[in-house]
């Protein structure tokens, strides 16, 4: 940046060392105009439905029917249709729950934490990432809600939410599981609110474009949710403040959600669970898996809709580096768990970790290590970050690895606890497997509807970080 501040003369040292001025990475390539952004994003919604969309929608819908069928069978028969049995009374249900919740965390990281850190590259990916968060929370919520079996008990007689049950007893607020109910429902609600606030200005554009185009019905639908937004700067002033406050409260929220999820385990006394490293380790893992999912979703969207000027190589580099950083934190946590198990000299704790790596579930452990510790290290190399196909494949490894992490933590500790007489081996039932894989269909259906009917990028936010948006014409004159 030019040093044009006359009232703040540059320090004398600068003349001697001649610092290199690095150009900032451009966030929108090829000097696109504001209206190009509008046409590009709105064009996706206004154009005809592509054939691939219908195919993907049909496949996702079919896959989602597995979850629906699995749940109907579960509710009508009982929780015995899942493979849980002593001693592994928690298994795929909570594994899947933690997996999906973790995926959501990248969306909130992008929309809230990167907003507070003024990372402008977040603008082109935050809408889709927030949508991913919401749909991931939907998929996650299926498991705790339905694991109670008679699902209506989750709400009305107060298994989960505080309504007095048949004996007028309230939920146990000392339990991290009850904290989880509040953490996850707050997380879901605040994510929806944050997402909706971001959508308002873009819905207003669609309202007026459809109105002028003669589509009164669609105009009324978008217009209803646009709340009569008219781009007034008096409104923007309050809007920006509301957005900042929401970013400010979503930051502690997202950190607290996975912290509380980790308390589900850390507060228990089971070897392998009872560790203080869990909260930061879970949060890092959640962001790691979430960015994996963001790349898995955004790279195909970028290719299909030709969004290379908006999701540039710089964006992909940034996401890869976050995966590298958080993946390395996760790898460090795996190592530190082993160290503390040895250093703590608790024979049960020591056994739990040796058993994880070399016991009956060693296959799962080494899948986890390969996917979570080895995979991200590839992102040190620029040539790999520039190979979009390879980045996409590696992002899927991240997703797989993080599912296995939760499986390893939960199942190995339960299958081999203190007494050998209560050891066992857990395998999922077919119902469980179908219910879980079906959630990818549920997610797919929701995400496809999102990209078809809502602007996949926040147009107003992208325009605000373009060079033309600078009121000083790109020069640092005040």
């Amino acid at each position: 940046m030019a040093h044009a501040h006359t009232d703040h003369p540059a320090p004398a040292i600068l003349a001697e060392v001649k610092p290199v001025s690095f150009p900032r990475a451009t966030l929108v390539e090829k000097n696109r105009s504001f209206s190009w952004v509008t046409e590009k994003i709105c064009g996706i919604i206004e154009g005809p439905t592509p054939r691939w969309w219908w195919i993907a929608f049909a496949v996702s819908g079919f896959l989602a029917s597995f979850t629906v069928a699995g749940i109907i069978y579960l509710v009508s028969t009982g929780v015995g249709v899942w493979g849980h049995a002593n001693p592994v009374n928690w298994a795929w249900d909570i594994v899947n729950f933690v997996f999906w919740i973790g995926i959501g965390h990248a969306g909130t990281l992008i929309s809230a934490i990167l907003c507070l850190l003024r990372q402008k590259w977040r603008t082109s990916i935050n809408r889709a990432a927030e949508a991913m968060t919401i749909f991931a929370v939907v998929c996650a919520a299926i498991f705790p809600v339905f694991h109670v079996g008679r699902v209506w008990f989750a709400v009305l007689p107060g298994y989960l939410f505080p309504f007095p049950n048949a004996n007028a007893i309230w939920p146990n607020f000392r339990s991290p599981l009850e904290w989880d109910v509040f953490a996850v429902s707050t997380y879901g609600t605040v994510s929806v609110l944050f997402w909706y606030i971001g959508l308002i200005p873009d819905l207003a554009i669609l309202r007026d474009r459809f109105y002028r185009g003669g589509d009164k019905i669609r105009s009324a639908l978008y217009g209803f949710f646009a709340m009569g937004w008219r781009g007034s700067n008096r409104h923007w002033s309050n809007y920006e403040m509301a957005y900042l406050v929401l970013a400010g409260i979503s930051t502690p929220l997202v950190l607290s959600v996975h912290t509380i999820v980790s308390f589900d385990f850390a507060v228990s006394l089971l070897p392998g669970w009872h560790t203080t490293i869990f909260p930061p380790y879970f949060v890092a893992g959640a962001i790691f898996s979430g960015f994996g999912m963001v790349l898995t979703l955004m790279l195909p969207l970028r290719a299909i809709f030709r969004l290379e000027d908006l999701i540039t190589q710089y964006h992909i580099d940034c996401m890869c580096k976050i995966i590298l950083a958080t993946g390395t934190i996760v790898g460090y946590a795996y190592g530190m768990e082993f160290f503390i198990a040895w250093y703590g000299s608790n024979p049960y704790e020591g056994f739990a970790f040796i058993n994880r790596a070399f016991g009956h579930y060693a296959w799962a452990y080494w899948i986890m290590i390969t996917c979570n510790v080895v995979t991200p290290q590839f992102f040190w190399f620029k040539s790999i970050r520039r190979n979009i196909g390879l980045v996409w494949i590696l992002s899927i490894f991240v997703n797989v690895g993080m599912w296995f992490e939760r499986f390893v933590i939960i199942v190995t500790s339960l299958a081999r606890d203190f007494l050998p007489s209560s050891w066992g081996y857990y395998s999922p039932s077919a119902v469980e497997i179908f219910t879980f894989f079906g959630t990818f269909g549920v997610f797919g259906v929701l995400f496809l509807l999102f990209i078809r009917f809502l602007p996949i990028m926040p147009m107003a936010e992208i325009k605000a970080v373009m060079p033309q948006a600078d009121v000083h014409g790109g020069h640092d004159k005040h």
């Binding site: 504001f34 991290p176 953490a183 605040v190 007034s232 923007w236 309050n238 929401l246 605000a464």
Partner: protein
Amino acid sequence: MAATFYGLMARFDTAPDIYHAAQQVRDAGYKNWDCITPFPVHGLDGAMGLRRSNVPKFSLIGGLTGFTTGMSMIWFTGAFDYPLIVGGKPYFSPLFAFPISYELTILFTAFATIAGMFILNWLPQHYHPVLKSKEILRGLDDAFYVVIEARDPKFDLNRAKALLSQAGAKEISELEA
């Protein structure tokens, strides 16, 4: 019914233009006027002379309400309505009540912030002279507008028009209410 005159809407094509135009309209002493921009233009609040938004006051009230709700709900259920010993722990302690109160603080803050934004912006307002103008299409896309309302005590059609053209307006249209 004859349309009543609402005000003037002047188009500017770049962000620096609207910034300088806003400064001039502010300095001319108008009160009932506004800028229509496709995105929040950085620095325009200052150029318009707007004060800091009051949204955080709503947020604070929401947050305090949420925290109090959490603490009192857990006290009411566990220590008042049905005291029950669980694991030999006290009926109520702010420590175990904290995580839920923390989440409810955030939940209530979020709702209050958004409610505050809507209330202060007087939204939803689905009818507005600016929305009726065909210019809104560009106002949300790539152009910037200054709107001066006729009800402003200093409003005089010719002087307002002169001010806007002098500020560099590309096109000035009249809005009907």
